[in-house]
């Protein structure tokens, strides 16, 4: 939920949602303009409780009926799924408040950076030795475990990328920190759905695999660590991974090299 400095410093060029124009609210900071909507940082109830406000503005290019239908559905389903995840012990942001007709959802503020940033910082301009990077591989395993936990409680993310996972650094920074320590917090469950089908789990993993490959081409060699940790994380993981092979081989996604 942290964007680059340039994005964060951008002035408010967009009209604020009504909730943020309330004189009592803490002046919001526009954190990022994601694909789905805009993310503001403000506070919840007390000035020292930071929170994230996810606002899905009306999309002028979409038919208003379709737009309302999608916005309502996505806000409600995201809130329901987040609550379910919290109940079942998966680390996701807590839901504070929402208004599905006005198009906003207020969530716990998660400290840290998206995993994408951590991986890219770690990779730098390196081209060698990535497959032996134990700290990075450990991060991969934590990603796999978090995704496995999510699937084990019957949640399909729908848009797994390294941008949709936060790395929350430990409260106490130890000496010699690599910047890869911390807890994986899965965010942006706007496209998530409930599901225990191996097919859905496999497609979820496939989306992550493709996104990982296109975002971090050089770290593709250690992606297997994610799947290995996933395999250990719950009982039916093996079946989902078997299905992943089918999904990879299926239809138009298949490469015809060789």
């Amino acid at each position: 939920m942290t964007a680059t400095a340039a994005e964060a410093a951008a002035p408010h060029e967009f009209p604020l949602p009504k909730i943020l124009t309330n004189p009592a609210s803490t002046p919001p900071t526009l954190i990022t303009q994601g694909a789905e909507g805009r993310l503001y940082k403000t506070t919840y109830l007390l000035p020292d409780i930071p929170c994230a406000l996810k606002y899905r503005p009306p999309k002028p290019w979409r038919h208003p009926v379709l737009d309302q239908r999608l916005t309502k559905h996505r806000i409600l389903s995201e809130a329901r799924i987040l609550s379910k995840c919290r109940r079942d012990g998966l680390r996701v942001p807590d839901v504070y408040a929402l208004d599905e007709a006005a198009g906003w959802l207020m969530l716990e503020w998660v400290q840290g950076t998206p995993v994408r940033v951590n991986i890219n910082q770690r990779l730098g301009s390196r081209t060698e030795g990535i497959e032996d990077d134990e700290e990075l591989k450990d991060l991969m395993r934590r990603i796999g475990a978090a995704v496995g936990k999510m699937h084990s409680i019957g949640v399909i993310h729908g848009d797994l990328t390294t941008s949709n996972m936060m790395l929350k650094p430990p409260a106490q920074q130890t000496d010699g920190a690599t910047g890869l320590e911390g807890e994986i917090v899965i965010i942006d469950l706007g496209l998530a759905s409930g599901g225990v089908h191996d097919e859905d789990r496999a497609v979820d993993l496939y989306v992550l695999e493709r996104a990982f490959g296109s975002t971090h081409p050089r770290a593709e060699c250690i992606f297997s660590e994610v799947l290995d940790a996933y395999r250990q994380s719950f009982k039916q993981a093996g079946v989902a991974l078997k299905k992943l092979e089918d999904v990879r081989m299926r239809g138009r996604k298949r490469s015809m090299l060789g």
Partner: protein, 390 residues
């Protein structure tokens, strides 16, 4: 020259047949003061390529000239195989069309460009992806020209052809590319020497969805089913409930097609009006367009947010749709960016894009030996090593 029969210039007098449309364009995209050819033969300053495209129902042949600073389109001809309403184009018939028209179109392209086979540096052809039989027919034509004129072959990925032509025509530097046609629906961005696919359809292509929907209602295939749906949709008012299937940066159209076909069947059985189905053909076309284009805009926006780009380039036949262009433009504007869309000359499959992308590869030393000039129906966009870009 051995190619006397083919190289003799013919006046472009062939008139389009009743079932086929021929379009022609001659344009200069970039022009700079042309310097006189250098005396030394070692450093070439002008290259000409002939491109042959035939991955679907359009046969396109075009000639392009590159100099270090400019690109000139010498000729860009297209001959389209149009099937009767209610039917699609079958590989066998389409291949026959391409085989029949190839020689005449190649002659006219040369004549219009005003060049002789001796001026042509390389023969570029679509190596995939596309329909097998039409691809093979055009590849045979390209191989024949290459052997006849003793020129090297350059196999081109159809998708990369669209992207490179789009970049050239619009001047977009590093855009997110939405490639939507009858056979492909992909969201592409460039990274580390490859055009990487961020999102795509999980089943059928968006154009295929539109084409097959048109068949149910016997909407004309002339000039294109998508075009006729677009015209009908302009008169639609009511939004019908259709599935909306986006998974991450991927989307799916087969369920929407099934729903739209079911609604169309209902309409054919009950008729429009309040006593019948309660909606019209126009409403159905409108709803289909609104839904599937909203999905495309959504995945494009997600890819833009993901790679941090604000430019979008739309290529492919469906990219001609003005409603889609407007929707993407509105999205890009809100993100502080801009959209690059092309007209039908370059959006719809054409030979010039194959010539252009092929010539870019040729100039980096790329050649396709005859024995490796086999076509592949599935040729991934990210299989191509893009040596001509940084």
């Amino acid at each position: 020259m051995a190619a006397a029969a083919v190289s003799s210039p013919l006046p472009p007098s062939t008139s389009p047949s009743s079932t086929a449309a021929t379009t022609s364009t001659t344009t200069t995209t970039t022009t700079t003061t042309a310097s006189s050819p250098p005396a030394s033969m070692s450093s070439k300053s002008s290259w000409i390529a002939l491109g042959c495209e035939g991955s679907a129902n359009k046969l396109g042949i075009g000639l392009i000239r590159h100099t270090p600073t400019s690109t000139t389109i010498l000729s860009n001809l297209r001959h389209t195989f149009i099937s009767p309403p209610g039917t699609g184009f079958l590989p066998k018939d389409t291949a026959l069309h391409h085989r029949t028209e190839f020689v005449a179109l190649a002659r006219r392209a040369l004549a219009e460009a005003g060049v002789s086979p001796a001026d042509v540096d390389c023969i570029c052809f679509t190596q995939g992806p596309g329909m097998g039989a039409p691809l093979t027919s055009v590849a045979i034509g390209a191989r024949t020209l290459a052997l006849l004129w003793d020129r090297p072959l350059v196999g081109v990925n159809h998708c990369v052809g669209h992207i490179e032509m789009g970049r050239e025509v619009t001047g977009a530097d590093n855009p997110v590319v939405l490639y939507v046609s009858g056979g492909n629906s992909q969201v592409i961005a460039y990274a580390e020497r490859r055009y990487r696919i961020f999102g795509e359809t999980l089943d059928i292509a968006v154009g295929n969805c539109l084409d097959r929907f048109a068949r149910v209602l016997s909407i004309s295939n002339d000039p294109a089913p998508g075009y006729n749906i677009e015209q009908l949709a302009k008169k639609g008012t009511r939004l019908l409930d259709l599935p909306y299937v986006v998974k991450g940066m991927d989307c799916s159209f087969s369920g929407i097609l099934a729903s739209a076909e079911a609604l169309a069947a209902q309409l054919l059985q009950l008729g429009p009006g309040p006593d019948g189905a309660g909606f019209t053909v126009e409403d159905l076309c409108f709803s289909l367009q609104e839904t599937i284009f909203a999905m495309l805009v959504e995945i494009t926006e997600r890819a833009m947010a993901h790679v941090g780009s604000s430019q979008v380039l739309i290529v492919g036949g469906v990219g001609c749709n003005e409603r889609l262009q407007d929707m993407i433009a509105s999205m890009a504007k809100e993100r502080g960016g801009s959209v690059f869309a092309m007209d039908e000359r370059f959006c719809i499959d054409n030979g010039i894009m194959i010539a252009h992308a092929g010539l870019l590869a040729y100039r980096t030393g790329f050649r396709t030996p005859l024995e490796e000039s086999v076509c592949t129906q599935r040729f991934r966009t990210d299989d191509v090593y893009v040596e001509w870009r940084d």
